[in-house]
């Protein structure tokens, strides 16, 4: 298991010194049955549709993309993660094709039309307003389940 204590010095120092958000009340929403789940992906890979405004380095805002969009680019500020995987296959960070297949096979209810991207390097507390806007948009299109995937 990769533990923070086993990471090399520079990364270990950064990750162990991050100020993590705390939440006094741990929210819990009971899930609907699998065949009723309408699922939207939230990625913190700072991806967006080609031509969209790039993310700023500590962006609080988000970008939106449709489930059929595949022409995505990444403007994440960090370079410490592997980018060669998503270059080969978008599904390794945003598994839209897999969710489509699972919908067809009846494993889930449906894949949402819209999906969302944030800048993972930013403090999530600064993203609260944007996250709540996204939640409103999700509910408008009947989403009840969110699959959050980092980069």
């Amino acid at each position: 298991m990769t533990k923070i204590s086993e990471m090399p010095a520079v990364g270990r120092g950064f990750i162990s010194n991050l100020e993590l958000p705390t939440f006094d009340n741990l929210a819990w929403t009971t899930s609907v049955p699998a065949n009723q789940r309408r699922i939207s992906i939230v990625s913190t890979a700072a991806v967006s549709r080609r031509g969209d405004k790039p993310f700023s380095w500590l962006a609080k805002d988000h970008r939106t993309f449709h489930k059929d969009d595949r022409d995505l680019v990444m403007t994440h500020v960090a370079v410490e993660f592997d980018r060669s995987a998503w270059q080969q296959d978008l599904n390794v960070i945003i598994p839209l094709d897999r969710l489509d297949e699972m919908e067809t096979d009846g494993e889930i209810g449906s894949v949402a039309d819209m999906h969302y991207s944030f800048m993972g390097a930013a403090d999530p507390v600064t993203m609260e307003k944007s996250a709540r806007e996204v939640a409103g948009q999700m509910k408008q299109e009947g989403v009840n389940t969110v699959f959050l995937i980092p980069i």
Binding site: A9, V10, G13, L20, S84, W86, Q88
Partner: protein, 253 residues
């Protein structure tokens, strides 16, 4: 990521998070978390492996069956990382100084030669995948090396892209250049090996040498943002190194 989950959950949406740093999931306590012992950048584990990707998704969605939480589980399969690092890192001893840069025109010409030689295979990769990640900068491929070379010569050029200053644009151009090389090579040679791709691009290509030259200029730059992007490993891959870039204090971290 775990913090965002709290906001969605409090809006009446059920959430499940996957994550690479177990200690963070433990501390932030999202409603449902699945720890992945994978390299960062590979949330579903393996590119072009639908069955493995579905195993990860199914393991994550299984957590939605829990009646109470928070729930934290470990995905049972591990994708090993090298020496505890979560991505490629330049060898600490591979550092250029401004004295090592030499003739910038010749270096740019050599990079353009590499780019031209790779182009047929890049086109084949794009055709096969139906997409490319190159182009976040919106500069033409032929303009990548000349744009970077201006910074190596000590200039901060005017940004050709409206609404995006020159240094943030530079970062995107650097990433586009690397993506052009690695997209091409992963397809041409059927390679999926992040360590091998990093070693090849950064240690063996002239494009890598161009970017190490840029780093050498940046670390002695009087421009605070140029200095910051190398000190914070935001341009060259030193985040997983055993020490900060020589000449920097890593004070940004």
């Amino acid at each position: 990521m775990c913090g965002l989950a709290h906001y969605f959950e409090s809006e009446g949406l059920s959430t499940v998070v996957v994550g690479f740093v177990r200690e963070h999931i433990e501390a932030i306590k999202p409603a449902r978390g699945l720890f992945l012992d994978f390299p960062m950048g590979r949330g579903m584990g393996k590119p072009n492996d639908p069955e493995f990707q579905k195993k990860v998704i199914r393991a994550a969605f299984e957590l939605l069956e829990a009646e109470t939480g928070p729930v934290l589980e470990d995905f049972p399969e591990i994708i090993p990382v090298r020496d505890g690092r979560m991505g490629y890192a330049l060898p600490p001893e591979l550092v250029l100084s401004t004295n090592d840069i030499g003739d910038v025109d010749k270096l740019v010409a050599a990079v353009q030669g590499e780019i031209d030689a790779l182009f047929p295979d890049y086109e084949a990769a794009v055709a096969a995948r139906g997409r490319t990640t190159v182009g976040a900068s919106e500069l033409a491929i032929k303009d990548f090396a000349p744009f970077i070379s201006k910074f190596i010569r000590g200039e901060i050029p005017k940004s050709p892209r409206k609404g995006l200053p020159a240094i943030p644009l530079l970062k995107l151009v650097v990433e586009d250049l690397e993506a052009y090389y690695t997209e091409t090579r992963t397809h041409r040679d059927g390679i999926d090996d992040l360590e091998l791709m990093g070693k090849w691009f950064w240690e063996e290509t002239r494009a890598g040498q161009l970017l190490l030259s840029l780093e050498a200029v940046s670390i002695v730059s009087e421009n605070k943002v140029m200095l910051q992007i190398v000190e914070m490993s935001l341009m060259t891959p030193r985040f997983w190194s055993e020490g900060p870039l020589p000449g920097s204090s890593a004070a940004g971290w």
